[in-house]
Symmetry: C2
Amino acid sequence: MESLNFLLPQSEIPTHWYNVTADLPTPPPPPLGADGKPATPEQMNAIFPMAILEQEMSSERWIPIPQEVREIYRLWRPSPLVRAARLEAMLGTPAKIYYKYEGVSPAGSHKPNTAVPQVYYNRQAGIRRITTETGAGQWGCALALAGQMFGVETRVYMVKVSYDQKPYRRSMMRTWGAEVFASPSTLTQSGRDALVRNPNHPGSLGLAISEAVEEAASRADTNYALGSVLNHVVLHQTIIGQEAKKQFEMAGDWPDVVIAPCGGGSSFGGMAFPFYADNAAGGRNGKTVRLVAVEPTSCPSLTQGKYAYDFGDSSGFTPMMKMFTLGHDFTPPSIHAGGLRYHGASQLVSQLYHEGLIEVVAVPQLATFEAGVMFARAEGVVPAPEACHAIRVTIDEALRCKQTGEPRTLFFNLTGHGHFDMAAYDRYFAGELKDFEYFEYPREAIEESLRHLPNFA
Amino acid sequence: MESLNFLLPQSEIPTHWYNVTADLPTPPPPPLGADGKPATPEQMNAIFPMAILEQEMSSERWIPIPQEVREIYRLWRPSPLVRAARLEAMLGTPAKIYYKYEGVSPAGSHKPNTAVPQVYYNRQAGIRRITTETGAGQWGCALALAGQMFGVETRVYMVKVSYDQKPYRRSMMRTWGAEVFASPSTLTQSGRDALVRNPNHPGSLGLAISEAVEEAASRADTNYALGSVLNHVVLHQTIIGQEAKKQFEMAGDWPDVVIAPCGGGSSFGGMAFPFYADNAAGGRNGKTVRLVAVEPTSCPSLTQGKYAYDFGDSSGFTPMMKMFTLGHDFTPPSIHAGGLRYHGASQLVSQLYHEGLIEVVAVPQLATFEAGVMFARAEGVVPAPEACHAIRVTIDEALRCKQTGEPRTLFFNLTGHGHFDMAAYDRYFAGELKDFEYFEYPREAIEESLRHLPNFA
């Protein structure tokens, strides 16, 4: 019986993260402060520890993973590389399909890969409390888990409407000992101001960020953590692609196409960048690998955005980064793939796309659920809506292979399971997701918000 | 860095199930029909295929696992054997703690281990439709998954109150293509009768069984499947203990105590019986292993029940089995560990307990959640309420080892994750589970239902 699961022993958990900055064709444009001058680590030290800021700015190719972090990674890593043989058979494709399953982490997604080192470095710097924001709760869960592992108090500002309507990730955060507050809260000035304006304020991710940053900036023992977009976050996620390369060697195979969902960019970068390293060096045995980021048509920052300096958050608190952006005040339609609802894309992913070194595809929501259900019926695992985006493009590639007869090897990032997203599947089966189709390409909203870009493009 | 996860390659998925009947000190008492005469396979062939009934009655020690079943097992098996090193450190115990994690199956529990072969044998017998009942949905999910894998239509009668209040496992069954009906339904006579008596009938597991069995018995192309209690179900679960034995060899360790939750008995038997095989042969290197079944004090069939002939279902449709029972019309309090709310225990588990070959411990609900939260904070995984019962007893053993200084090796069955049970954790954190304490040992209800035992004890 052929093995479908390529098992990597825990001794093979990577010892270093891979920093793609070292292999970029040109140095990355620096982040800029509101004054248009390059932002310095010192400016950001109020809410991030120096070790993280050094990683953010580093151009070293390999950055060592602390032993304490690898010991926590052991709780669920290496994650499986699985051959989706039943999906191949269902599609009748000559393509081979593999996936990396990040849903095995206790939090159910790839997010703990960066939550754990972020909490670790903060703890090393003497920080006792970490704040963050969360929408549906995936990132909040990851940070709560990591906080518990290192004994750092975790305080999560959860968008009120999710806090009320999606209680189960909130319960999970509490199980791991985190404190969770509905945002807007009365704990911060930002929250109180919002409640004065509207006592029934439903909350927003931008407002929750403001609350978390305000608390972190106002207390010396407290820092802030972010779950995507920034360079150090993408860096931490590169253990995904590194493990996968070892597992493909075990399988005696190698991907022709690497496919991952792309919101802020860390799940795509984490999986694709270690393969990009080979491309940058002329390819593996002279052969390069296609790297495909998948975004929703409702929030198409890469395919429809502008490559320009913009703020990382919706309120304009952060330094500006040069990235593909829909404008920082663009509010994406509420698709179920909450992790892909970001107005921009990581500056590293943006730069590689700008230079023509990666591909990007945008897919509509309904088609992603169709793909997710097909995957669940073939392979068992019910995927998270974010992961369904990668599955859609993988299936489309596999069907193209069926037409052309090419036996390509396709590899996608199954970033998480859908156990906390079953309400979205319900709406799909009920036909209610069709209602979202008019959001698919929100041209006017994008044009409007692009007019508000800061003037440093 | 020491490995905590003992990885078994897929080539080591067991080729045979272990049938404990071959190693019982005395032959098991036969099931009896309502007339008091031994029930024959032919009588049950209306709803079960012969291949399953042969397994139910077999005394062969090893029963081959069909290749097609092993190929589906490959989607998630072998399941991990994990050393809970952080829990050990948290408790400060000299004991070593290991767990087998069955939550990695797509359905999130050990139930697919038997759903897959049950559907396979039905498919081989030409059956196109399978019916079953489900309460919270764990068994229904497992059968829906298995039905999808072999192209057998799956029809699940789900207790109405769960259908309405716990929609997410219902959505999961639909994602795998099953049809799910609120029970009582208008599809069966049993359902219609119940609705005539009470148009707002909330449903019950007994009634859902009646509906599923009625549909299966009335159609030649349709059979019925049960998720625990019966011998063939326990048999299929023995892959858990068999894999574990190979993994302990890899780890260079061996359990002194094997601990598993016990409702119908299949998760306990599946884990413990392969270790019992060594005990029956005089022990491994002369050393026997303690086998501990854990039941809730609110439904204490083994510790407070009577060893007597009783019906397997609450309505008296099934043959009678000799087992520890609280009486078939005992209704357990609605604790959150729905999988442990069964009035009896597998006749195999019952016989071994009667003969003094296994131990049983009953634990109260509140203490199980306390243990589950402790486990989640140490190891990450949030356990299902059923599994929390085994964790409670494991922690208690580990704390005894701390007192005595004995470095025992403890091994428990983490039968599933708690992703669909977060509402129960919420109630625990809110202090609401204290309300259940008066249920802890429902002495009067048990005495009352024991008076209704059939007269074949």
